[in-house]
Amino acid sequence: MDKTTRKVDGEIILFWALPFLALTWIVIFFLFPGFSPPMSPTMSADQVAAFYRDPENLPRIRYSMILFNWFGVGIITFLSLIVMQMKRMAHRTPILAYCYLGCSTGGPALFFLADLFWLMAAFRPERDPQLTQLFNDLAWISFTGQVGFIVAQCIFLALAIFLDRQDSPVFPRWVAHFNLLIAAAIAPAAFVAIALTGPLAWDGLLSFWLRNGAMALWLVVMTVVVGKTIYRQRTQEETAA
């Protein structure tokens, strides 16, 4: 094989795209006026309409959500890198990797849906406030409540690590426990619609701060873990060659 281009090199390029993507996500988070502080679900239709009509907010909503539209789905590259590592694990079937792959399209598709609803709400803010509120509700429920795929992903990865029974496993054991912990932290957000106030509401402690905090932490920790693993893989392939 050609020494200069190993298969894993492509993965390393994809891996180093991640900090750039993460940077855009941070920008989106702070640019979107609905996140800092999170919009309250108790706002009336007129207040929601006024929020979108506010000349301070409107351009920030539009540009942040256009950015989100561009780069949000970029997470799939990272998730696919994890799939590649899962395929290296000592499993008898590829089924866990298939599960992870299935989830890695489902989750981002729902984020994308939320992004579209936000953009639609901002497209003609002068329309009937009831309609603006409807789009706003749809966006927040899709964004906050749709945690099923993320939770399942963490559990599938944890399972894969537990079942990876070899002398030098691909990921260390603690990554599995960490993923289960993150899954537990994200899970309550599924019940976001139960209340308009309190910790479960979409601006609440559990649904917004804990969930998004857990996802950010997951991203940071998994980046380090996956990065280390890919570089170790490269060294192994070099010595094997």
Partner: protein, 251 residues
């Protein structure tokens, strides 16, 4: 041995544990799906398509907590659908057909969850979220949710056709031939349901005898059949207990 010990033993020693976990996940998901959609949210059997605004608002009010909690559960467990798609895709890798069949199945069914289930759940959750919303908008949500739920056809139609073709072509008889034919019945239901986009009452409406009841019965029979057959496939699978083939190569 207690149940807990048995489960622990299987996790440690059963070579088919990956498959069994996926099978049980699928099994539990369908139970949960039935409980949430039939008992908690009252989405199945569906309410009437000809109701006026006031009656629709009343339906949302009657089922307020059922909808919110029920779909909360669905949001939480939606990811399990991935495990059953993976199991079925895996079943196709065991057949004497090209891998392309399992990849098509995986791709189509990863997509199907969104229009077939989650979009309805999101819409109805938003509908139940604010009882004081304009009744005209609530009625729009209601229509969008039920037409989307009952009227999602293509993904299941193509997905079932691919599975059917794989089963009929398979020489290893992973699934019996009759199951291949049963797939034809299931994909025909996706055609039969189409008139629900045209009629607001009668046998072809979204709650009609033909478009809903007959189709749902066929789907239930089909689902029970493939859950049972997948179990049989896993039971027959023979991995042995030795080291994994790849690992031997690596060593």
């Amino acid at each position: 041995m207690s149940l807990w010990h048995r489960v622990a033993w299987h996790c440690k020693n059963n070579p088919k544990i990956e498959l069994w976990i996926m099978w049980w996940a699928m099994f539990c998901f369908y139970q949960l799906f039935g409980i949430v959609f039939a008992l908690m949210t009252r989405v199945m059997p569906p309410p009437k398509p000809w109701w006026d605004h006031a009656r629709i608002v009343q339906w949302f009010n009657d089922n307020h907590y059922g909808l919110l909690w029920g779909f909360g559960i669905i949001f939480l467990v939606a990811g399990i659908t991935a495990s059953m798609n993976a199991l079925i895709a895996y079943s196709m890798t065991r057949m004497s057909v090209s891998r392309v069949f399992s990849y098509i199945y995986l791709a189509i069914y990863s997509l199907s969850t969104l229009p077939g289930m989650l979009l309805t759940a999101i819409l109805l959750t938003v509908g139940a979220l604010r009882p004081d919303r304009d009744p005209a908008i609530i009625s729009w949500i209601y229509d969008a949710a039920f037409t989307g739920f009952v009227g999602t056809m293509g993904v299941f139609f193509i997905g079932t056709s691919v599975w059917m073709l794989a089963v009929l072509l398979d020489k290893n008889r992973v699934f019996p031939l009759w199951f291949g034919y049963l797939n034809i019945c299931n994909l025909l239901t996706e055609i039969v349901v189409a008139p629900m986009w045209i009629f607001k009452e009668g046998p072809f409406a979204w709650n009609g005898v033909i478009a809903f009841w007959v189709d749902t019965l066929v789907f239930v029979v089909y689902t029970i059949a493939f859950i049972t057959l997948l179990r049989r496939m896993i039971v027959r699978e023979d991995f042995g207990d030795g080291p994994l083939p790849e690992l031997e190569q690596r060593a």
